[in-house]
Symmetry: C2
C-alpha cells in the first residue's frame, strides 16, 4: 500500500481513455521500448492504433508532459525526457561543474550582456539608489545539447567594474572570484512552478505556456554585499531539487 520508491504510482484510469493511453505509453517507456531522446509515434499513428480521436490522444500526451516523462519539439514530435539534473541550491558551485559531475554535457550561450540602471526593485535588492549602474547578462544553458534554462543575471557595477569585457560562455562565478575577489558565502533561493511564456518560451524553443520552474537566487559575500542576483527559468522536466541543510 505504500512504496518507498520515488515516482508516484500510476493512476487507476477508471475507464478514462486518455489516462489509459497515458498508462500504456508510460509502461512502454518504463519497459525501455523508447530511450531518452527517442521520438514517440505521431499523434495520428497513435490514433490509428488506439482507436481514439486525436484530441483524446493529445490529452494523454499532455498528461505525460505535465509529469515530465515526455516533452515536445514544436511541429516535430513528442520525445522521451532525459533524466533530470539534480540541483542543490545551497551547494551551488556553478552550472558547469554541477552538470559534469552528473555525467552530462553542459554548454552555455550568452544571449545579451548590457549595462542597465537599477529600477526600484533592483535598487532594493542591491541596497543602492534607483538608477544605480548595473550589468545584466542573459544566458541560455544546455544539457546534452538540449536547452534547459534561460537566466538573467544582475551584477553591481560598483563591485565588478568593466565586467562586460569578459566572455560569459564560461563560469561567471569564476570570473567574479578570480578577477574581482568576490566569493559567495550565502545564498537566498526562491523557487516556484510557473508557466514559461513570451521571451523565455522563445529562448527555450518551446510552446508558450508550458510549465517551468522559476528560481530566484540572491548571492551574498562574507560582508553581506549582494554579489549576484539571478533569475532562472528551467524546463520543469529538466530539474529536480535536492536540499541538504542543518535545521535552524
Amino acid at each position: 500500500m505504500f512504496s518507498g520508491t520515488i515516482p508516484a504510482a500510476a493512476s487507476p484510469a477508471d475507464g478514462v481513455q486518455y489516462l489509459e493511453l497515458r498508462n500504456a505509453l508510460a509502461a512502454r517507456i518504463a519497459a525501455g521500448e523508447w530511450r531518452p531522446g527517442d521520438r514517440l509515434p505521431s499523434e495520428r499513428a497513435l490514433q490509428v492504433s488506439g482507436q481514439a480521436a486525436r484530441g483524446t490522444i493529445r490529452e494523454g500526451l499532455a498528461q505525460l508532459e505535465a509529469e515530465g516523462l515526455i516533452y515536445r519539439k514544436d511541429r516535430s514530435g513528442w520525445y522521451v525526457s532525459p533524466a533530470p539534473i539534480v540541483y542543490d541550491p545551497t551547494r551551488w558551485e556553478g552550472f558547469i561543474s554541477y552538470v559534469e559531475a552528473q555525467g552530462r554535457a553542459p554548454a552555455t550561450e550568452t544571449l545579451d550582456a548590457m549595462a542597465i540602471a537599477a529600477d526600484a526593485f533592483l535598487a532594493g535588492v542591491f541596497g543602492r539608489e534607483a538608477g544605480a549602474p548595473l550589468n545584466l547578462i542573459r544566458r541560455r544553458r544546455y544539457v546534452d545539447d538540449r536547452p534547459v534554462l534561460v537566466e538573467y543575471i544582475v551584477v553591481d557595477v560598483a563591485l565588478a567594474p568593466d565586467l562586460l569585457r569578459f566572455s560569459f560562455d564560461q563560469s561567471l562565478t569564476g570570473i567574479l572570484k578570480s578577477h574581482y575577489g568576490l566569493a559567495v558565502t550565502r545564498n537566498k533561493v526562491e523557487m516556484q512552478p510557473c508557466a514559461l511564456t513570451g521571451r523565455e518560451a522563445e529562448a527555450l524553443g518551446i510552446k508558450p505556456g508550458l510549465p517551468g520552474l522559476n528560481v530566484v537566487r540572491t548571492s551574498y559575500d562574507a560582508q553581506g554585499r549582494v554579489v549576484e542576483f539571478d533569475r532562472e527559468y528551467w524546463r520543469h522536466d529538466a530539474v529536480k531539487i535536492s536540499v541538504e541543510a542543518r535545521v535552524r
Copy 2:
C-alpha cells in the same frame, strides 16, 4: 526590458485565441475583479462573451491553471487561487506554526495510522533490516479550509515505541520531541514537480493528473538517526519554495 518583479511577463498572444483569453482573464484577476476564492464565469458563459468554442475556452483556463492563478473544483467551477504558502525546507518548525506565521488558518486531519514492515527501500532509509517494524501515518493538511497537501510519514518504532496511541491532528514534531526526546538537527529534502494521481488526487479532491509538487524529506537527529521519513504531495499552486542557507 527586464523587470525585477516576481511574476513573469504575460505572453504576447500573437493572435492565438486561447492565449488572448488567458491574458484577458489574468488582467481581470490582477485588477481585482475577482478575489482569491471567487468563482469565475462558467465555461459556457465565457464562450458566449468570448465567441469561441468551448475547447478553446478550456485551453485558456488550463493555461491559467498551469500557472497557478486559478484552480478548479470538480464539476463546480473555476476559482481564483489564494496566495501560496512560502515553504523553507531548511527551516521546518512544523506546518501549523509555519502557516499561522503567514496569517493563514492551518488544519490537519489524520487519514490513516498503522504499523507496517519495512520494504527494501525503507529499510535502506532507516538503516534497518527489511521487515523491521515501522509506523506509517497518512495525513491531509489544509490552509483556510482548502486541502493543500497529503503526506505519508514513516517513523521507526524502535525510536518511538507505541506512537500510534497519540492523535496526529496536531504537531507530530512536537510529539516526537516532548514524548520521545527526538529533536531534528538536519534535513535532507528533495523536490520535484509531479502529477497528482490516484490516491493523492482523490485525497485532495482534484482531477487526477493535475500538477503537484512532490517533497521527500528525511530528518536526522544529532546522532545521525533517521527520526522521520516524510513524503508530501502539494497542490502546485499552494506552495512556493524559499531556501536560505550558507554555501558549503
